[in-house]
């Protein structure tokens, strides 16, 4: 029987016994890193850490603090690594969205909008 999980379990809804918090700071060049992707990454991380984003000259500075009640306590290195992975994925999502939003709208219009009725006729 294979017990390997397909993906990393998502942060659970409940809380467990407190673990010590860790804090790390990660900064990005604001000329190449979008704030939207950082905010989306922070949202995804909300179950295990909080994050305050500050603008410092040409840098976005992210102050990450793990939640003491998290079920999956992380070291500072792990927290930073996890955050960077999520930011990387969010950047990719933005790129995909930029290139596919128009097509998505066409498909939705074909399915439900005025194009649907014109197709029918």
């Amino acid at each position: 029987m294979r017990l390997m999980r397909l993906m990393r379990p998502m942060p659970p809804a409940g809380t467990k016994a407190s673990a010590p918090t860790v804090s790390v700071t990660v900064d990005f060049d604001s000329s190449v890193q979008s704030l939207g992707a950082l905010e989306a990454a922070v949202y995804r991380l909300i179950g295990i850490a909080t994050c305050q984003i500050e603008r410092d000259a040409d840098r976005f500075v992210c102050h990450l603090t793990s939640k003491s009640a998290s079920r999956t306590p992380l070291t500072g290195v792990e927290l930073k690594e996890r955050f960077l992975e999520i930011v990387c994925d969010e950047n990719l999502r933005l790129r995909v969205a930029e290139r596919t939003d128009g097509m998505r709208n066409v498909i939705l219009a074909l399915a439900f909008g005025s194009l649907a009725s014109s197709q029918g006729s």
């Binding site: 993906m7 992975e85 939003d101 939705l108 399915a111």
Partner: protein, 484 residues
């Protein structure tokens, strides 16, 4: 002169391709991704392959081109067939919206002779006049139910224990059958009962009127009786006897049972499944507790978390697959619902697996006192003082005023997964759903913060497990047979 052009003449250049919409999610800590197209067909890609896809570094014959083309992740510029196909499939998947309010739940009484600590409806044990639905309210509720535009409706009787007010059930069924003839609207009936009060007279009436029976069975006698106490401590005996009699009289496919997972169930999943097998039931619905009613008051809901439930569920599901491998057909119904979403484009009306949410437009609940709620869980919340999902009253409202009420429109529109943070880019979104009542109850917000949501954790956990099992061909064949 060559008769044929060279192979490259038939190749599509990368710049002749364009991306189709898709979502993705990193698989564990590896550099692999689960990618799903607009209608939720999954494909696994490495990080390199995903980068090549996004950059359209693809050539016919390179293997990746064929995989992503077949998965509707890229299309040729100017080609219409793929987007038309995706639109068609999307329209089919969302066509549950054409069946407006097919389910109407009548809470004919809030009284119950059981005293289950996890009861989600806050049953009452006394005062018949106060907690039973009156004939007038029932007739007005029927007026509203028959105003819904669905050509086929289902009337479900709930409680409390609805058989405590069986005389009203009879009246409603007979009146509904008369209206069915005049309105040409088909009607199905279900009684959700603990079966303790079931007798031959009730069964004969159910047989004559093609009434389905749904009951609760939490497992073996000791577990069931612990979860579902009643005077005499014989809930299990009565439920099992009622189940057997109902199957004899109504037919085996006219009776179903549901279980609820309590803390005491967590290490008993094999026993629970065995109980269902012994009763010759065709499957089981492994359900977690819901955060409503007495389940909150008695703190039952907080006695286990979603991780424990998922472990319980995984053990149960793998056991059920083993049972199927041995030749016995037996399904886990929640997995079957999700597999139907994953493997077909048929619309699934199940309220937890749809967005827009099924509140109101999927079901209306007529409470014993005439209040109308957007869902069964909504009336459960009301019994603990939260009237957020109360849409109106049978005396003051018509079907249209309930369905078009600002309260319902706001709850549905504010909980759409298609445009919710995280959900809108979630690889599982095409197979998931909004659950505004759950998120209102647990987070005070109809949309909810999904990274903190146990509902989200459950959906993702179950779907990840199913995808993992689908990688084993023999097990995949079993799961595919459930997706009917």
């Amino acid at each position: 002169m060559a008769k044929f052009l060279p192979p490259e003449a038939f190749s599509a250049a990368g710049d002749a391709l364009s991306l189709l919409p898709f979502n993705f999610e990193r698989i564990g800590s590896t550099n692999e991704y689960l990618v799903a197209n607009l209608v939720g067909d999954f494909v696994r890609l490495t990080q390199t392959e995903l980068d090549r896809l996004v950059d359209l570094q693809l050539r016919p014959g390179d293997g990746l081109y064929e995989r992503v083309y077949a998965a509707h992740l890229v299309t040729r510029k100017g080609q219409q067939s793929q987007r038309q196909l995706l639109a068609l499939r999307l329209r089919s998947r969302m066509s549950f919206l054409r069946q407006i309010t097919p389910l109407h739940i009548f809470v004919v009484t809030l009284r119950c002779e059981h005293s289950c600590p996890y009861c989600q409806v806050s049953r009452q044990s006394s005062d018949r006049s106060r907690f039973d639905m009156s004939e007038d309210i029932a007739q007005r509720a029927l007026d509203i139910a028959f105003q819904s535009h669905s050509p086929r409706i289902k009337i479900e009787f709930q409680g409390g224990e609805p058989l405590l007010n069986f005389s009203l059930i009879k009246e409603i069924i007979l009146a509904a059958r008369d209206r069915s003839i005049t309105t040409k609207k088909a009607v199905d009936f279900v009684i959700a009962s603990n079966l303790a009060l079931l007798d031959d007279e009730i069964l004969t009436f159910c047989k004559q009127n093609e009434v389905l029976i749904s009951t609760s069975l939490d497992g073996p006698a000791d577990l069931h009786n612990k979860n579902r106490p009643r005077p005499g401590g014989n809930s299990y005996d009565l439920a099992v006897h009622g189940l057997r009699r109902a199957k004899e009289v109504l037919g085996p496919d006219r009776v179903g049972a549901l279980m609820t997972t309590t803390e005491a169930s967590l290490d008993r999943v094999d026993d629970i499944i065995d109980e269902y097998l012994q009763l010759d039931l065709d499957g089981i619905f492994l359900r977690p507790l819901s955060p409503f009613g007495f389940a909150i008051k008695t703190k039952q809901y907080h006695r286990y978390d979603i991780e424990k439930w998922l472990a319980f569920y995984e053990r149960g599901l793998r056991r059920i697959i083993e049972i199927n491998r041995s030749g016995r057909q037996f399904r886990e119904f929640y997995a079957a619902l999700i597999l139907s979403r994953m493997m077909s484009d048929r619309p699934i009306g199940y309220v937890d697996l749809r967005s827009p949410a099924g509140i109101g437009i999927g079901a209306l609940v007529y409470n014993y006192d005439g209040s109308v709620f957007a869902s069964d869980e909504g009336r459960m919340l009301a019994e603990t003082g939260d009237n957020t999902f109360r849409l109106g009253h049978v005396d003051n409202d018509e079907y249209s005023s309930l369905i078009m009420s600002d309260r319902l429109v706001e709850a549905i529109s504010s909980s759409l997964t298609q445009c919710a943070p995280e959900c809108s880019s979630c690889v599982f979104e095409p197979h998931c759903g909004a659950d505004p009542v759950y998120h209102h109850a647990t987070q005070g917000d109809a949309l909810g913060i999904k990274p903190l949501s146990a509902f989200c954790a459950r959906q993702k956990g179950v779907m990840r497990l199913l995808l993992e099992i689908l990688e084993t061909p023999s097990d995949a064949a079993i799961l595919r047979s459930w997706a009917t």
